[in-house]
């Protein structure tokens, strides 16, 4: 490790003045959702630590997490953070391919204490044959790579909790990283979960910056998420919260309440049960977040959000009608067929007459 320059040395070598460094630290504190007064502590810490090696493994994923990261809204800070790490393996971003790429990973693994970033879930059914890179199953590759790692950061809901690959019926036996450790399938290491589908770009870099700066795992909640980004629910930080408190709700997506920006709770917003930083950090250059664009929160940073019932059913309504009294479902089955026909007919008639289709119509 002693061969690697400290981060301050690395920046100084690039001709970055102390004033610029101070600005960088202030922006980094903001990025890490730390109080602005922490900037001097960040400056001091960066003067001591050395650039760590990072291995990024992509398993059952859609590359959305990498897309999110590479579109971070403040390239200067992000590029500096990437200067702070030595990204030795990332099969989407690296120039090398084939055997040379795998060799880069093996070489990086020679020096223990590296950081492993994972996006995507890991299939374990049938010996993990459903996803492999360079002929090595995802499970085997993760097992080998985690062995000498200092810590693992699970980027995205798939790596953190299984995500969409694990959704019912989970054909590949997909699991998240923490679950694999809990079952003893890979070595146990400290894990930071950065869920979201995808996670907010600055949250990814903020968590990395925190780990790199202070060389420690940030304070985590019960689901392994950093509290500085996932400590509050979307609902508690939502600018529409005053409407909830006044009982002003949009009932459809185009009614008076929707136009006035009232609370989307009754349209199925999962804000009250979802912990993430969307309401303050926002998306797309800080432009807005789903609720500000008029759609409820889907709850993508929570485990099993995909199987948690309809995105358009209010939280207080039963999330899954099948868990209701089974007898009622059987008895209602014959009626249900009739109802769906009626609703379909209503949907098309509403379309032709330009009437407002209700949520119930949309769900059938």
């Amino acid at each position: 490790m002693s061969r690697r320059p400290t981060i301050a040395e690395h920046l100084a070598r690039q001709g970055i003045s102390r004033r610029a460094f101070l600005k960088f630290c202030a922006a980094t504190a903001s990025l890490m959702a730390l109080p602005p007064g922490m900037a001097p502590a960040i400056a001091e810490a960066l003067g001591k630590i050395r650039r760590p090696s990072v291995i990024w493994l992509s398993f059952q994923e859609c590359t959305g997490c990498t897309e999110s990261l590479t579109r971070s809204h403040s390239p200067t800070v992000e590029s500096l953070i990437f200067d702070m790490i030595s990204l030795d393996y990332h099969h989407t971003l690296m120039a090398a391919s084939g055997e040379a790429a795998e060799r880069a990973r093996e070489e990086a693994m020679q020096e223990p204490g590296y950081l492993v970033l994972v996006d995507g879930s890991i299939p374990v059914k049938d010996g993990g044959i459903y996803s492999a890179i360079a002929g090595i199953s995802n499970l085997q590759m993760l097992k080998d790579t985690v062995e000498n790692a200092a810590a693992v950061v699970s980027i995205g809901t798939c790596a953190a909790y299984g995500g969409i690959p694990m959704a019912n019926p989970n054909p590949t036996g997909a699991m998240g990283v923490q679950a694999l450790m809990d079952q003893g399938l890979i070595a146990r290491k400290p894990v930071i979960n950065v869920p979201g589908c995808p996670p907010i770009p600055v949250v990814i870099t903020g968590v990395l910056a925190h780990y790199l700066t202070f060389s420690e795992i940030p304070a985590l909640d019960a689901l392994g998420r950093p509290l500085n980004f996932y400590g509050d629910s979307i609902h508690d930080r939502c600018y529409r919260r005053p409407f909830y408190d006044q009982g002003k709700f949009a009932k459809t997506f185009d009614d008076e309440g929707a136009r006035k920006g009232w609370c989307l709770f009754e349209l199925g917003c999962k804000g009250p049960t979802t912990h993430n930083a969307c309401a303050t950090t926002k998306w797309n250059d800080g432009t807005s977040f789903p609720i500000e664009s008029g759609h409820g929160c889907l709850g993508c940073s929570e485990p099993n959000f995909w199987d948690a019932g309809s995105f358009y059913k209010a939280l207080s309504a039963p999330a899954d009608p099948l868990t209701f009294a089974a007898g009622a479902v059987v008895a209602g089955a014959a009626v249900g067929v009739g109802m769906s026909f009626i609703n379909r007919a209503k949907k098309s008639s509403a379309k032709s007459a330009h009437e407002t289709a209700t949520l119930k119509d949309l769900e059938k």
Binding site: F24, P35, Y239
Partner: protein
């Protein structure tokens, strides 16, 4: 500037007559911090990006605080602007990156924000540079 800046976002003022309630809290925090600055010289800074503000509320704050006598532009890793508000001792600090996107935005309560001051290590290096320059002049 990204293409997104071309999409105007207008919020009807009537939609939220009372706002998020956070602008009042910010003004109150500034008041407390100014007291503290006078009493003990303790500086304070508020990260404007960490608060759930409605569109338009930043403009409202800017309007309430006004513009004072000092406006500084710092070019370090992209432009930064440090603008004293009409409430002297309260500075609006905006850090931008080289692509002109806002990286961080603070309200700072201090007699002079740190980013404006020359940094000790930089001055030490400059002294060496100047001495070397003069030695060069002397030799020629």
């Amino acid at each position: 500037m990204s293409g997104l800046d071309n999409i105007p976002i207008n919020v009807e003022a009537s939609a939220m007559p009372f706002g998020s309630g956070n602008t009042g809290a910010i003004l109150a925090e500034l008041e407390t911090s100014l007291h503290e600055l006078l009493k003990s010289g303790k500086e304070h800074s508020i990260d404007l990006r960490s608060l759930p503000l409605l569109p338009g509320e930043l403009d409202y704050l800017r309007e309430r605080l006004g513009t004072g006598e000092v406006q500084v532009e710092v070019n370090a890793l992209g432009p930064s602007t440090v603008v004293e508000t009409a409430i002297r001792g309260v500075w609006w600090v905006t850090h931008r990156n080289t692509l002109d996107n806002v990286m961080a935005e603070f309200l700072e309560v201090s007699f002079c924000p740190d980013i404006i001051r020359a940094q000790r290590d930089d001055v030490r290096e400059s002294l060496e540079t100047l001495s070397a320059l003069m030695a060069g002049d002397h030799d020629s």
